[in-house]
């Protein structure tokens, strides 16, 4: 039987070990999420969002700068309206930034890619991106290829 002093010491060491494990896991194995810290909201309308889902990443130049907050249908234009949360660190995106829905790899998840424009004005909270490219829907693409209905004969 160990003395009570030793038991308390071992119990303390055990908790210390657990805290070390917590720090290790938090630092080494996880991402703090794209939307940690202050964010602001911008939106964009697409005629088709394909398989884009809420929480999908929003990236510019391959760097993740935010995530998709929600996707809804505009009741007037019947366009899909994608609301994104962008990290406050990137608060100087030009006003004429364009947004496209891209796919990571052939079978990867869909995400929103932003392409910076040249305007000196920056996008503010609640602003809307005007230039957008919809998702490429593979079925439509194959259909066009098979039946050559694109009208663009050579």
């Amino acid at each position: 039987m160990k003395s009570s002093h030793q038991i308390e010491l071992t119990a303390g060491l055990f908790l210390l070990l657990a805290i070390a494990a917590l720090v290790f896991l938090a630092m080494q194995a996880t991402d703090r999420g794209v939307a940690s810290g202050p964010t602001y909201e911008i939106s964009a309308s697409f005629s088709n969002v394909g398989g884009l889902k809420p929480r999908a990443k929003v990236s510019m130049g391959g760097v993740t700068i935010g995530m998709v907050e929600r996707i809804g249908l505009d009741p007037d234009t019947f366009d899909a309206r994608v609301t994104m949360r962008i990290s406050e660190r990137y608060d100087n995106l030009p006003e004429d930034t364009s947004a496209s829905i891209l796919t990571a790899g052939i079978l990867g998840d869909q995400y929103v890619g932003l392409e910076p424009g040249g305007s000196p004005e920056a996008l503010r909270d609640g602003d809307r991106i005007m230039i957008t490219n919809s998702a490429v829907v593979l079925e439509q693409l194959i259909g066009r290829y098979l039946f050559n209905t694109d009208g663009d004969d050579q």
Partner: protein, 256 residues
């Protein structure tokens, strides 16, 4: 009293048992007192429930990580997606396997010994002796074990997760020669601290609470005979396993 129909009798006993267990829990929490002695006793219980479970947790964690990586790596390479093995490993560990397996092992290792200890105290009238000495057994026996379970299980889950990941690294990087940088960066890219990791830790706290409560309760309510203590110990494992797995589903459904 309700009439003693067969249908009532079927549900009567388990319902009353549940009610008594809840009442017991409320009594234990409402009489919570914090003193120097209480802290010392809680630390001792953390030692018995936590430190003494380290060997089984570390061994099982390592081999779970190993076999999980082995199986998913084998499957994923068929689709040319072997790099995703660290994603699968970390997500399934943090969200499900870590908390659930640790809780089941904890019930077998620490829960049973808590139940047997308190049950024997009941059988040998030590609890009554404490009462006679004007020492509240709730305060001296029950509360330290409840708090210890609440602290020790999440701590064990953290250690389990780390050793399982070490097992995964051992298999994927050292045995299969995968690139360690890809391994870690894929894991970091796909695991989110709040949702995946702390979501799993919320489960761990909930499971620790349930496991400690059930272990203490079955010991407390054990019939004061050797069969009674044996039965109570068995019931602890069964009840904890069932409750943890049901609770796991409910918590997952809420969090996803």
């Amino acid at each position: 009293m309700t009439p003693d129909t067969p249908g009532n009798r079927l549900f009567d006993r388990p319902l009353r048992e549940l009610g008594r267990a809840l009442l017991f829990l409320f009594t234990a929490i409402s009489r919570m007192r914090f003193s120097r002695l209480q802290l010392t006793e809680t630390l001792r219980q953390i030692y018995f429930a936590g430190v003494r479970s380290l060997v089984i947790i570390v061994t099982c964690g390592f081999f779970v990580g190993l076999v999980l990586t082995l199986q998913t790596y084998d499957t994923l390479t068929r689709f040319g997606a072997g790099d995703a093995v660290s994603t699968v490993l970390a997500l399934s560990l943090f969200r499900e396997l870590g908390p659930v397996l640790t809780a089941l092992l904890f019930a077998g290792r620490a829960g049973t010994s808590i139940t047997a200890e308190i049950g024997l105290m009941r059988a040998t009238e030590q609890l009554d002796a404490l009462d006679l000495m004007a020492i509240d057994p709730m305060e001296r026996i029950v509360q330290p074990r409840l708090i210890a379970g609440l602290i020790a299980l999440p701590a064990l889950v953290l250690i389990f997760n780390v050793t399982a990941i070490v097992g995964g690294v051992f298999f994927a990087v050292f045995l299969m020669g995968n690139d360690p940088v890809t391994f870690w960066s894929n894991m970091q890219a796909s695991v989110e601290l709040g949702r995946d990791f702390f979501g799993g830790m919320i489960k761990a706290v909930a499971f620790g609470f349930v496991a400690a409560w059930l272990a203490v309760w079955f010991g407390w309510s054990a019939r004061p005979t050797s069969e009674g203590v044996a039965l109570a110990t068995t019931q602890t494992v069964i009840a904890t396993a069932i409750t943890v797995l049901i609770l796991d589903f409910i918590l997952s459904a809420f969090m996803l």
